[in-house]
């Protein structure tokens, strides 16, 4: 934390307001990855003393960054909430549990709902998915260092996972349990990413502001025999940034078919 404190810089001779300068300095450190995801920020009082500015200026700067979803506040402590992910994260079968581990955090999972139900119509995205059969729904919260980071709704076709509703792997990574119990290995899938306003009930669980722009990922996975494993929907307030490069032949296709380059 001491090292973060030393990196935050302002120039009192400048016309720009102190709170804006503090916010901008922290933003630059986040974008340059000099402050990592979930690093604890200096307390408001410590930073005010260090910079020799009013507590109110630091408070407003932090508030501004919370509104922009670049900081997350939990029990009065501010944490960095910006992840520069490699695009591999989206292009490979990365598991949320492992992602949290990769951030250097201790992942934990809590299952808060388990029931047999129908598949919501908007999740039947693939013609191979039969929405009329019963599904086992698991609603789980993923934590990193005990801070809730994501909510995931998982739908497993009951016929492929007989007896799963009675099993207890509430706190274990799902795909591991499915492999050891049912011999199913995730081999392929599709991911659809959209950005949604965080609904009130999810905001409560994730301790974030209602309406925060949040990534929603709907994912469909298939096993080694191309049979459906699950359809899941996750929502996370992690402020994720990732890059994708298009090469010349891709660009020509977009230019030809799309309104993006209008």
């Amino acid at each position: 934390m001491k090292t973060i404190l030393n990196k935050i810089k302002i120039d009192k001779r400048q016309a720009t307001s102190i709170q804006l300068q503090i916010a901008q300095s922290i933003k630059n450190l986040l974008f340059d990855q000099q402050i990592n995801y979930m690093n604890e920020m200096p307390s408001i009082d410590d930073l005010a003393i260090y910079l020799d500015v009013a507590v109110a200026d630091v408070k407003q700067a932090y508030h501004r960054l919370v509104v922009e979803n670049l900081l997350h506040q939990e029990h009065g402590i501010y944490y960095a909430n910006f992840v520069n992910l490699s695009s591999d994260f989206y292009f490979k079968m990365t598991k949320l549990y492992d992602v949290i581990k990769n951030f250097g955090l201790t992942p934990t999972i809590k299952t808060i709902k388990k029931r047999v139900t129908e598949l919501p119509v908007n999740l039947a995205l693939d013609p191979s998915i039969d929405p009329t059969i019963p599904y086992v729904q698991l609603k789980r919260i993923y934590y990193g260092n005990d801070i809730p980071l994501a909510i995931m709704d998982i739908y497993l076709p009951q016929e492929s996972f007989k007896g799963i509703e009675q099993m207890n792997f509430d706190e274990k990574p799902l795909y591991e349990a499915l492999f050891f119990t049912y011999g199913k290995l995730i081999s392929s899938g599709r991911r659809l990413m959209s950005v949604v306003n965080l609904p009130r009930e999810d905001a409560k669980i994730l301790n974030s502001a209602v309406d925060t722009a949040s990534y929603q990922v709907v994912s469909i996975t298939f096993d080694q025999h191309k049979k459906l494993i699950d359809i899941s929907r996750s929502i996370s307030t992690m402020n994720q940034y990732f890059e994708v490069d298009f090469e010349e032949k891709d660009i020509q296709k977009i230019a030809k078919n799309h309104f993006f380059y209008i």
């Binding site: 922009e68 979803n69 989206y90 292009f91 490979k92 079968m93 919501p120 119509v121 908007n122 995730i186 081999s187 392929s188 899938g189 599709r190 991911r191 659809l192 990413m193 959209s194 950005v195 949604v196 306003n197 009130r200 209602v210 309406d211 925060t212 722009a213 949040s214 990534y215 402020n239 994720q240 940034y241 990732f242 890059e243 994708v244 490069d245 298009f246 090469e247 010349e248 891709d250 660009i251 296709k253 230019a255 030809k256 078919n257 799309h258 309104f259 993006f260 380059y261 209008i262």
Partner: protein, 245 residues
Amino acid sequence: MNYIKIDKTIKKALYLQIRDSIEDAIREGVLADNDRLPTESELCEVFNMSDIVVKNAYKLLVKQGLVTRVQGSGTYVSTRKMFKFPLKGFDKIGDFGAYTYTSKEKRVVLFDISKDLESISLLLNLREGERYYVAKYVVLVDQAEVLYQTLYLPEKLFPKLAISDLEQSNLPQLLTVKYPYHMKRVKNGFSPVNMTSSEAQLLNTFKHAAAHRVRTTIFGDQDVVIAYLETLFLGQYTQFEVIVG
């Protein structure tokens, strides 16, 4: 709210009658995208029913994707088209370009020349004092706003650029036909943002609506930055698709 019709003498559940009325009104064009629906208490008062009935009707409409609830603001009709963009494996995702639209339009709202933003000068690799063009425009597909783009071009690379050039040609045409460049590589950075009220107005949506912000850097030969583009995609109506494995 005269498009809602309730008949309490028939057996059909009241929440389904509300749902069906609203669904019909949307289909017949009585209700258009972004129209505000009556509040729960307004409906309860007129139709003399409990708020649970209205809640259930609205819940169903949200589930069907026909309306959106905006915290602290109300319930709105949402009939915009969903667009899907592949991010990798353009050949694998067959339906790219398959969604059909009858019209697309670029509405330029600002064209300017500036050197004010240091961050843009850095991105475009400009030397001190060198200027860049800024163009802001909204893209409409089938008359609905789908993108808000801000384009930055180095002045020195685009001599005599005029607003009409932007209006008459699309970006690849501008860069590669009107001017002599190649689009060798395009780098796109994605992040989620809440729109400001002006951005929301331009895209005809509600304040704080969630959006994808995509920062696009276009490189020409010898990795020279020839353009920088910032795009806001309506979050709820844009999906980025990836095939994995």
